[in-house]
Symmetry: C2
Subunit: 412 residues, 2 copies
């Protein structure tokens, strides 16, 4: 596409375009940060009001049964399952991604007696590394964390003392994507299990966890799944591990008979054993609004549009911002790219702030990285065109070169 | 009080009575289950709408800074602090009670090298025992759980190999309350630390964690603090333990420099180190509505009214339901009673269902226990009178003796 008119025409032909109407986006904003916090489904207001006014306010404690609060983590998991390429009764929505990683890592290590190495990558989302460190330190049983520096190093890292490999399917910073089937096969060949963090993948790229041989997966519902700020995360376990799954965060909601008030723990059969304590019902219920929109889209269409949007974005930036020191850090090969595009720029932080001030919302990640989420459910081709024009203008006019754009906010 | 008119007069003289107007309670309901799910503050609807419509829908990712999402766990902790008798920068609102117990137990055990016994009570809220079991099993370092059967056995259980004592300040079933200062002194004398679960105490009874020598505390915001269904819990650490506090659930939100994206974990200074992963913002924000009402009440008034309500309830049940096999299991001594009252009845489950059908909402706990929460912020003396009259009628007419009242719901 070489003109804005061509982009408008592409939007008109886009089978996903009607779904944008189901989101509410602020006027005057081009929102390219759905990879950090997904936009709000219009249905969310009524959903929140129903939970607060009716379920809490009027039905009170009875809502555990009448509004199905107790089944919510499992019911939402079943709605999410198709997006992960798994069956309905294999996944739950609960807790945070960090906590769910702790659970599946504990479960994985337990079945890998004698293997003392955990492989991950230096560039993984930091909280994943922190949770691994926390567990190793806590166990004090001689575990070691082996960090690879790039995907190619994985083969060398997979020695026969590796218990588990913990990787993000799509990298939070660069948008680089792993070949899940290939990595699973590689890890299994050396006797290791694989845990996938799908925070930047679920809802963004087609997933086939079962077919691709994954062992465990965790991920986020508030990015491409549009579940709301800090919405509870998800946890999936391959059926072959379900009956041996054991986790130390063994709270009441995972008990076989949670209302018998027994003094000994016994895990529930099936997916309920992945739960822990009481869930934040209002935030949890809101997840359904995002899942209901995702269910209306064919993931093949989402992927096709995602790649087209990011191809367009990369091409336009190259063409329109050629005089500026922007370095693409996202892989260009489709098979290796998620749904966001990142560039380095020496003044990355200030550039992002200047863009936000003009209504183009991307975000910044250390070091020097401008990150743009291209969410096919509510971002169109003309949006990409317009965003690049604003970027070009901000760079050409050095609009970013203002003290207020250099001043770091508490949260970047 | 011997007549309903006397109860009405007592309500008229009640300094806390005006606070009831800040809650919305369904018409025709006497809600005696605030010990399970607190009633909805009227302000909650607008709060939820503001978070969903404005902060999420309009301000999107910017709300991390502009709406103070990042500071929310600490800011709410500071609002909660006076109710716990602690300083503002000592407590956070985050995660679930079960998870927070895991954190403080890990921290406590770490400083108690060589001590391998954890003391709790058989009658503790089961999830607390399950979390302890989960941790012991995970660590596999020879820890043992020693369960006492009653408060008097604590002295015998406190041998010099006890690392930590984990107790509920107010028992979830019986409403029996521990003397926190005495237990702390007893435990410290043998070198043990004490973790208090305040789920049924916070907002219900005056607390002075610091003055009473507590080491760690966790608890719930959705019961007497009226924070909303499944609202995030709290975690307090005595200042003397703050700098050595270490927990294995070391997610990004507890990192010293969470946005530097470092690959090594380093805990934040101060209370932020008690956090883990991303919090459910909508549910978390709602906690403030309940705390804002609690801040308007003097806890001495709350306690005085709570005891008067439960004295009245016990006296009326004895008088009006004398012919029925109701056995009080709540201590009568004020110093040993929390803010709910429980009776055993051989048909307890059916009796509670029949009461609920008549609009008197209490709840049932195994075995055979009818539990009635008397929440001074929105329950009055005439409410207690009316509830006992319904109980009397249900028992006198055997209204509970219907198949539909015996049929167990999924959640009891």
């Amino acid at each position: 596409m070489h003109t804005r008119d061509e982009c408008v025409a592409a939007d008109r032909a886009d089978v996903l375009a009607p779904l944008k109407q189901q989101f509410e986006l602020p006027p005057g904003v081009l929102y390219l940060d759905g990879n950090s916090l997904g936009a709000k489904p219009r249905a969310a207001d009524a959903c929140a009001a129903a939970v607060v006014a009716q379920q809490w306010g009027q039905d009170l404690i009875r809502s555990w049964n009448t509004a199905g609060w107790f089944d919510l983590p499992v019911r939402l998991g079943a709605k999410l399952a198709p997006l992960l390429g798994v069956a309905g009764q294999e996944v739950v929505v609960t807790d945070s991604t960090s906590l769910n990683l702790f659970k599946v890592l504990a479960a994985a290590l337990r079945t890998q007696a004698g293997r003392k190495v955990i492989v991950s990558e230096r560039d993984n989302f930091p909280t994943d590394l922190y949770m691994i460190e926390g567990m190793m330190d806590f166990l004090d049983q001689g575990y070691a964390l082996r960090l690879i520096d790039d995907q190619l190093s994985l083969a060398d890292a997979l020695t026969d003392d590796v218990a588990v490999v913990v990787l993000s399917h799509v990298n939070y910073r660069s948008g680089a994507m792993y070949d899940m089937a290939a990595v699973s096969a590689q890890a299994h060949a050396c006797g290791a299990l694989v845990i996938w963090d799908l925070a930047h993948a679920a809802g963004a790229v087609p997933l086939a966890l079962s077919a691709d041989g994954a062992d465990f997966a965790v991920g986020c519902t508030y990015k491409y799944l549009n579940g709301g700020p800090g919405a509870p995360a998800f946890l999936w376990v391959a059926p072959r591990h379900q009956n041996t799954f054991w986790q130390p965060l063994s709270g009441w909601w995972s008990h076989k008979r949670p209302f018998a008030m027994l003094d000994r723990y016994e895990p529930a059969e099936g997916v309920r054993r992945y739960l822990c304590g009481t869930q934040p019902i209002t935030s949890l219920a809101l997840v359904e609004c995002g899942l209901d929109i995702a269910a209306q889209a064919d993931m093949a269409d989402v992927r096709r549009k995602s790649l087209a949007l990011s191809d367009l974005f990369i091409a336009l930036v190259r063409q329109r911002c050629a005089d500026h020191p922007l370095a693409l850090i996202t892989p260009e090969a489709h098979a290796r790219r998620g749904s966001h595009v990142s560039f380095r720029h020496p003044e990355g932080y200030a550039v992002i702030q200047a863009l936000i001030a003009r209504g183009v919302i991307g975000d910044y990640r250390e070091p020097e990285v401008l990150r743009f989420g291209l969410t096919p459910l509510y971002v169109g081709y003309a949006d990409v065109w317009d965003a690049v024009e604003v970027l070009r203008d901000v760079l050409d006019t050095r609009a970013w070169d203002q003290p207020q754009f250099r001043q770091r906010a508490a949260v970047t």
